[in-house]
Assembly symmetry: C2
Homo-oligomer: 276 residues x 2
C-alpha cells in the first residue's frame, strides 16, 4: 500500500507510527509546508520520504490531511488531480465547513474523519505511539463518500485499534463543541484567570493533579484552536452558554447558601462517570 | 513513634501507607466513625489497630485529622484531653475557619496543614502508594503552633517526600480557591452541561483525553466538597467570578469574530505552563 500524509505533526506523525506497526509493506510519503518538520519527520523515521509538491501524491491509495482545519479547506481545493481511486481522509476537529468546501469532482474520494484524540503538544517531535489505539473516530456524511474509499479508511482505522462512529457532520460539530471545543475554551480561561492574579507563581506552586489536568489543554496551539473556534463558532458559543448557565447555577447556590441543592447538583455531575 | 489517624479514607489511608514506608518502628492507630471503613483499614493493613473513642488517642506523638473540613471543626472541640506534647495536624482543604475553631487550650498542639494532593475517589479502598510523594503541602499560621509540634509535622511531611510551603491561612484560602476549589466547581459544571444535552451518551462516547481530564474531578464526593465550598465561600465566589470574566471575554471575542485578539488571549494562557 502507498500512503500519503499531509501534515507531519502530532496527528500525522503518530498516525504514521500506528500504520507502520500494522501494515509492514507500506510506503508512507509525507508533505509539510514547514521544512523543519520535514527534516524531523525523516530523522524520527515517521515517513519513508517527503515530497515538496502535493501533486506528487498521484497514485497513493490513501491520502491523510493532518493539518489545522483552515489548512484542510485550502488543501482540498488543490487536490483535483488526484487519482479517481485514492481515498482522501481529513482528520480535522470540525466537519460541516470542511465538507462544504470539498470540490464536487473529488467528493467521492473524500472521507471526513475526526479522531477523538490528541495531546496539548504539536510538531513531529510530539508524535507518539498509541495516540490512536482504543480511541473513538467519527466518520461524517459517509453516504457521500465512495464505497472503496470508505472501506479502506474504515479498515485502516479499525486495524490501528480505533472505534468507529458514524454521524451527520452538523451533529458531529454539536457534539464536538461539548466534548472538545468548549472544554478547550474553559481550560484557556482557567489558565488566564490564575495568571491575572497578583502572585500567580505562588498559586501555581501549589498545583495538584486536579489543576494540572484541568489546565493541561490550555497549552494547546493557538493557531490550531483559533481555526477550530472560528469554524465551529455557533456550536461553540452554544456550548459555552450552556456551561456558563451551569456554573452560574453553582455560583448562585453558593451565594444563597443553598447547600442541599448544591449537593444535589454535584450528585448529578457525579453521574457522568456512570456513562464515561 | 505512636501515630493516630482520624479518618481512614483516601487521605488518611494513603498517609498511613507513606509513613509506614519511612518509619518502620511506628504504631499507627486509627479511628473512623464509619465501621466499614475501620474493617477495611485493618483488612488492607492501613493501620495497626482501630479504636472507638477519640479520647483513647492520649499519648500519641502525632494525631492526623483526615476527615472532611466540617468534621475537623467538630473534632478539634473534643480533643482537650490530648497530651500537652501531642501534635494535632489537620489535612483540610480550607484553613481560616478551621484555625478559628481550634480551642485556645490546644492551639499550641495544632498544626494546620493542606496537602495539595488527592484523587476523585474516597474511602480506605481508594488509599494508594505515593499519594503524597513530590506534592506540595501548605502549613498555615505556624507561629501559633508549638515548636516541637511544628518540627515533628515538618519532619514527617519532609520524610514522605513533600515540599513544604508556609502561608497565612487567609492567603492559603485565596490561593486554594484558584488552584483547587474553583476548578472543582468548573468540572462539576462541565459534567452537568454535557449531561443536560439531548443525547449525553452519544456525546460522551466520543470523549478523548481532554474531556476525561477536565471532568475527572466532577466525580469527587459531594459531601466533602459541599463542606469545602461552604467554608471557603467568599474566596470561591471571587474565583468563579474571575474565571467567568475570562470565559466571557473568550465568548465575546468569538461572537465578535476578533480572531487576532482571541489568538493573543490563548497565547497568554499558554504561558501558564512556563511556570507550572
Amino acid at each position: 500500500m502507498k500512503i500519503g500524509i499531509i501534515g507531519l505533526g502530532l496527528m500525522g506523525g503518530s498516525l504514521s507510527i500506528a500504520i507502520k506497526k500494522v501494515y509492514k509493506d507500506t510506503e508512507i510519503i509525507g508533505f509539510d509546508h514547514n521544512d523543519q518538520h520535514c527534516i524531523e519527520a525523516l530523522e524520527y523515521n515517521l515517513v519513508d520520504k517527503v515530497i515538496d509538491d502535493i501533486n506528487d501524491f498521484y497514485g497513493v491509495d490513501i491520502l491523510f490531511l493532518a493539518v489545522p482545519v483552515d489548512g484542510i479547506i485550502k488543501i482540498v481545493k488543490q487536490l483535483s488531480k488526484v487519482d479517481k481511486k485514492t481515498a482522501i481522509v481529513d482528520l480535522g476537529s470540525t466537519k460541516a465547513l470542511i465538507l462544504n468546501s470539498v470540490p464536487t469532482d473529488i467528493r467521492q474520494n473524500f472521507v471526513a474523519a475526526h479522531p477523538m484524540t490528541g495531546t496539548e503538544k504539536s510538531g513531529p517531535t510530539a508524535a507518539i505511539d498509541n495516540l490512536y489505539h482504543g480511541k473513538a473516530i467519527v466518520l461524517c456524511n459517509i453516504e457521500d463518500s465512495g464505497e472503496s474509499q470508505h472501506q479502506l479508511a474504515k479498515q485502516i482505522f479499525t486495524n490501528i485499534g480505533m472505534k468507529i462512529f458514524y454521524m451527520d457532520a452538523k451533529e458531529h460539530d454539536r457534539h464536538a463543541a461539548y466534548i472538545s471545543h468548549m472544554p478547550h475554551a474553559l481550560s484557556y480561561a482557567l489558565a488566564n484567570a490564575v495568571m491575572k492574579q497578583e502572585d500567580p507563581k505562588a498559586i501555581i506552586a501549589l498545583a495538584g493533579g486536579g489543576f494540572r489536568d484541568m489546565s493541561r489543554i490550555a497549552k494547546s496551539s493557538p493557531n490550531m484552536w483559533q481555526d477550530i473556534f472560528r469554524q465551529n463558532r455557533q456550536d461553540l458559543l452554544d456550548g459555552i452558554d450552556c456551561f456558563a448557565g451551569e456554573l452560574n447555577r453553582c455560583r448562585e447556590l453558593i451565594a444563597q447558601e443553598k447547600w442541599d441543592e448544591l449537593h444535589s447538583w454535584m450528585d448529578k455531575a457525579n453521574r457522568l462517570h456512570e456513562i464515561l
